[in-house]
Each structure stands twice: as structure tokens, then as C-alpha cells.
Subunit: 337 residues, 2 copies
DNA sequence: TATAATGAGTTAAACGTTAAACTTTTTTGC
DNA sequence: GCAAAAAAGTTTAACGTTTAACTCATTATA
């Protein structure tokens, strides 16, 4: 391993001077020396040791991307298709700015803080359900925190979210406007404080507004895989009164469509379906899925923008961005009027 | 920040002793002292500083997950659905074993090595196209390297791959056996040395074996998004002689199916399609897609198994695993006999 | 001309942890 | 009862980098 001292010796100069050149504090160094040092760096193949740097400067240039999971069972970090799109954008931008990205799932505040402290993290992207006590733990760390799709009662952290409530409200309202009155709700397991809960509340709110009584029996919760969707379909067909279904995730909507078709149901003739997310799949299923569109890539870009501004010590004019959604009409909803 | 010295002072013992306790070298420490130290650690909330540890021990407990991209334009780290499934499994297992995961795209060997050196990485997962010179650069680092879906002429690295050639060969042969003779090939842009090239070669090999001349004009290359697929469809319909199409990725197959249906083509009546990967989407499109199945999650699990064995200094009985594929017949292929 | 300011560096200490080489006391074997 | 071994530590140096505080010429200012 070649160190800064090797470069110093090779150029007949002190380690400090080399360090200064590397960090662009060249005003203290002559042009000639700068050149000699840069040549030596290239020649000897010097690569800065981040551990040493991090140790002395207590800034590591590492940003954590942490997903809070309630339990690790059956949890795949990337299960949410959103993550894939966002992480791609985040990695690219961070790299361009000289930062590094570390991935992690955590189950609680202690794990989270320990993780951040161990590495002297410079920043944190947080996804998943944000509990109140996370705030206290994180605030003490004094690092930029950007929340992604996390619902928070009160926090000073940056937050990039989505109008989950309104989106789901609009999905439901769309069915109502098309003359539907018996509308079910299918979703991956709803956890308190998560996006799915918001989407559930949006559904309920639209029903209430239209004077349609909410019925527990037509809320279907299950895992997202195809087999679970097939199970849900067993329940759905036991409610022949249903003419419409709001599904809080496109992946699941697609699974349910497949399951219903297997049972001989026609979509949208027998039952209309509205999804959520507008992942590329939505255009590919048959019939193409009417769904609530969100721009996942943009969410990632906005999040990393926030992060960079915070890292550069800029003061922000906004700390919260809630992206709006938009209904994309395709062919999975029948007009009953 | 509370350090190992704070713990030492609090318990009236030396830093080394604390370090020993933390690392389970307790044979040198009395039970009583161990307990006192552990209590102090808990009480004061001590968290080891990985930078310091890494600096002195030249082992960081960080594993890199690096994706080699030819050019960063239009490249999303997670574009390949495989990555999502694999990274989930890898993160979980690494964490359980006290390792950390850093994500990165690189464009060349230099970037790769610099990345690994900066952080004193303990191991590397590598995906994407593996160039010969990568080997020389990596070998000098003396860290475990596990290749994922990378084709390599000769290397001492562990390798978890897939029978891409055979899978694609079987996909093509399936069409031939069903009486097809005019079979096109659609794929995301084929790069030398990648999995897509293998799949392309498998296609050609099956044609050759059946005595069907290969025609350049019916190989269609494009990006994977829906609009690019629609473009491909413009070209495909200009070859009305085609009765079958091998598509080297399910995502693309789904896009092409949509595009073709928009143009009034019936699948499989007008044209039969075989995909590759068997992502969940394959069951959800209409008609359900006949495709080549691979177990992406297993790939990730095997890769991380390799890594852990290498990290633990175990000698391996195998260093190469090539997963086999299997044709899953659904409804996108018509029997012409 | 004396003094201040600038340019181009250097030295020494510090960051938190670990490894190697010691030390001191107690126990064991014969 | 004495040497050897084990138990339970300690001391010191080192890992590679940065930062704060110096130094020593040379140039500019009044």
C-alpha cells in the first residue's frame, strides 16, 4: 500500500504538503511542487485511505441507505420496486459528488444509530416506517437525514413523499364516478404509519364522502406474490356483489387480475380494478391497468438533491416535498353508468 | 463520542483489555472484569469506530457490490431485476455475519481497484462484463472475489452463473420442435462477453443444429423500455415470414407482446414468443409467457455462501457454480405441426 | 529602512483501535 | 520448596491522514 508519506518522500516534501495538494488547498503550494506531487501520485498509484481520513476528520463520505423493517422475516430489501429505481439515481449522483453508499436494513432505532455511528456516516436516507423515537436518536447525530416515503408527525428532517392518501382517494373516486358502489380494497399487509395505511385511509375517505358504508369484509390483505394473490381471489369471488377493487400496489393488482381470470372472471366486465404506482408492468398486463401514477425515479432524484444541499451546508427553502399522483386511465375499469 | 479509552477508565482497566473483551479474546481476562466492561459498554453506549479498527487491522468488514457498466449513460444500477433479488439476500446474510455492503457502479478496472483500496474492502461481488485486465488488477488485492453472471475465460475467482447458452438454445429448440423455422431474436443491446451474448449464441447454435440458416435481419436489438419495444415491433411486422421469436429477457418479451398486440398481431396465433428469466411478470401477461426459468434468489444465496466461506478462510471444493435453467411452458407458443 | 504581509512550506500531535511484547502475580508439578 | 507455566493483565507503537501552529525567506508598504 502506498501512502501519502511515500509520495512525500518521492517528491522530497512533507506529508502535509501532499495532503494540501490532494485537497486543492494549493494556494499554499508552488505550481512546480503541485505538478511533481501529482506526477508521483499517478506514478506510484496512490489511493487515499478513507479509514484514516475518516478517523481524523470525523467525516467518512459514506451515506447510509437504510430500510426500516418491522421484522426481518420474509423481508427482501428490494421488495419494493421503488427502491430499485431510487437507489440507482441515488448511487449515480452520490458517486459524482465523491460520496459512497452503504445499504442496510434495521429493525429498530438502536440498530440504526449504531450503524451510523460505527461508520461516522455523513448522511442518511431512510425508508420505511418512521417511529417517533427514531427522531430523538437521529437528532443527536447531527447529520443530514432524508426521509423517503415515511410518514412523520413532526420532524426537522427532509422528507420526500407521495400523496398516497389523495392518490388512493382518487382511485376510489374514479370507480365511484364510473357508477361503482361495491368497491373492495386489496393490499399487502397494512402496517401502522406506512404508505399502505395512507392508501387505505384514502380509500375509506372516498367511500365516506360518497355515502358508501365501509365494510371490513371486503378489505383483503396478503403478501404480494402470485400465490398469495390467488388466495385473495378465493375470497374476492365470495363477494359477487363487488363490481370494483382498489389495489394498493400494481404488482398485486397484476397478480389478482391473473387469479381472477383463472377463476373465469372477466376484467373489467365482471370486476373493475384500479392499481397504484404505475410500474411498467401496468401497461403490459391484459387488460392494461388503470392506475395511480407516481414518478419513482424523480423521488430518488429529489431525495439526493436534498442530501447534497444539506451536505454542502446550504440552507433549504423547503424541507418537505410531497409528489402528487395522477390517474392513468387504461382499460381495467368499466363504466357502469 | 465514547471511545474504548472511556470504557477503560470507567472500569479501571487498560484499553487493550477492553479491546480483548470486545473481540472475545476473553481467555486473557477474568470473568469479573468481563462483566464490568460489558456493563460499562452498555451504560455509556459505546460503539466501535470502524475507521480506527479498519485502519489498524487493515480489514474493514466492508464488502463491495460492484456493477461494471460499459457506459454510465442510461444505466440504472438496478435495471437488471436480478440485482434486486440478489442484493436482498446478500445484504441479509452479510449483516448476520457482521459485514457491511457498499454499492457502486464502475466503468473500468482503475475505478474498481481504487474503490476497493480506498476502503480496504474485505471482499467483492462483481456483476457485469468481466474484462481480462480486471483479473490482474483484482488478483493483486488478495481479497475474496465472487463473480455473478460474469463470463470469464480463466480466473481463480468464484463464479456463480447461469446456463445462458443452453437456456437460450433450449428456448429456440422448443420453437423448432413446435414446427417453427422462421425464428427471430430480440434482445437488449448485446455486448461482448455478457450474458446476452451467450443467449444470442445459444439461439444461433440451435438454428445451426436444425439446419436453419442464420439471418442477421431478424435480430432485433433495443433498450428494454416499452417505447423501444414498440419500435422493435415496427421492424418485426416487416418480417411477416416470422412465426416465432426468442426474446432474451422477459421484461422485453412483455413489452414486445404489448407492442405486437397493439399492431393487431395475435400471440401465439400470428407469432409465438419465448422469453428468458421467468420473472413474476411472465405469469401475469396475457397470454402467460413461455420462458426459461432461473432462480435469481438462489443465485444471490450461493454467491454470499461463497463469499462467507472465502472470508472465513475455508478451502472450497468448487469455485464455479453454473445454475441450470428449465423451460416453463405457458401459452405464448403455438404448435405448428 | 523597518515592519508587515505573503508565499511556501514544516513539525508535531491527534483521531480510535489493535498487536506484539512485556510484567506481575498466582498456581501447578515434581 | 522451587522452577515453570498459567492467569490477568499493561505498555508502547503503529495504522494513514489531517489540522493547528510554527518557520523562514522574500516581497510589499509606510
Amino acid at each position: 500500500m502506498v501512502t501519502i508519506r511515500d509520495i512525500a518522500e518521492a517528491t522530497g516534501v512533507s506529508a502535509t504538503t501532499v495532503s494540501n495538494v490532494i485537497h486543492g488547498k494549493d494556494n499554499r503550494v508552488s505550481a512546480e511542487t503541485i505538478q511533481k506531487i501529482n506526477e508521483a501520485i499517478k506514478e506510484l498509484g496512490y489511493v487515499p485511505n478513507m479509514s484514516a481520513r475518516s478517523l481524523v476528520s470525523s467525516s467518512s463520505r459514506v451515506i447510509g441507505f437504510v430500510n426500516h423493517v418491522i421484522t426481518r422475516e420474509n423481508t427482501n430489501f428490494m421488495e419494493d420496486p421503488f427502491h430499485s429505481a431510487a437507489i440507482g439515481a441515488i448511487e449515480a449522483t452520490l458517486r459524482e459528488n465523491g460520496y459512497f453508499l452503504m445499504l442496510r436494513t434495521v429493525e429498530n432505532a438502536e440498530e440504526l444509530v449504531t450503524f451510523l455511528q460505527r461508520w461516522n456516516m455523513d448522511g442518511l436516507f431512510f425508508t420505511g416506517i418512521f417511529k417517533d423515537k427514531f427522531f430523538d436518536s437521529l437528532a443527536g447525530l447531527h447529520i443530514p437525514v432524508v426521509l423517503l416515503d415515511s410518514y412523520v408527525h413532526t420532524s426537522g428532517f427532509c422528507n420526500v413523499g407521495l400523496e398516497d392518501f389523495t392518490g388512493s382517494y382518487n382511485a376510489t373516486k374514479h370507480l365511484i364516478e364510473k357508477g361503482h358502489r361495491q368497491i373492495g380494497f386489496a393490499s399487502p399487509n397494512i402496517k401502522d404509519g406506512g404508505v399502505l395505511q395512507e392508501r387505505f385511509l384514502g380509500y375509506k375517505s372516498a367511500l365516506a364522502e360518497a355515502g358508501i358504508p365501509f365494510e371490513k369484509g371486503i378489505v383483503f390483505q396478503q403478501e404480494m406474490d402470485l400465490n398469495s394473490c390467488r388466495q385473495i381471489c378465493n375470497d374476492i369471488v365470495e363477494h359477487p356483489e363487488l363490481t370494483g377493487l382498489v389495489v394498493s400496489a400494481d404488482i398485486m393488482a397484476a397478480g389478482i387480475m391473473t387469479g381472477l381470470k383463472e377463476k373465469g372472471k372477466r376484467i373489467p366486465d365482471d370486476i373493475s380494478i384500479v392499481g397504484f404506482d404505475d410500474i411498467s408492468l401496468a401497461q403490459l398486463v391484459d387488460p392494461p391497468l388503470t392506475t395511480i401514477h407516481q414518478d419513482m425515479n424523480l423521488k430518488g432524484r429529489l431525495a439526493v438533491d436534498f442530501m447534497l444541499q444539506l451536505l454542502n451546508g446550504k440552507t433549504l427553502d423547503t424541507t418537505e416535498i410531497t409528489l402528487s399522483t395522477r390517474l392513468v386511465e387504461r382499460s381495467s375499469v368499466k363504466d357502469l353508468r
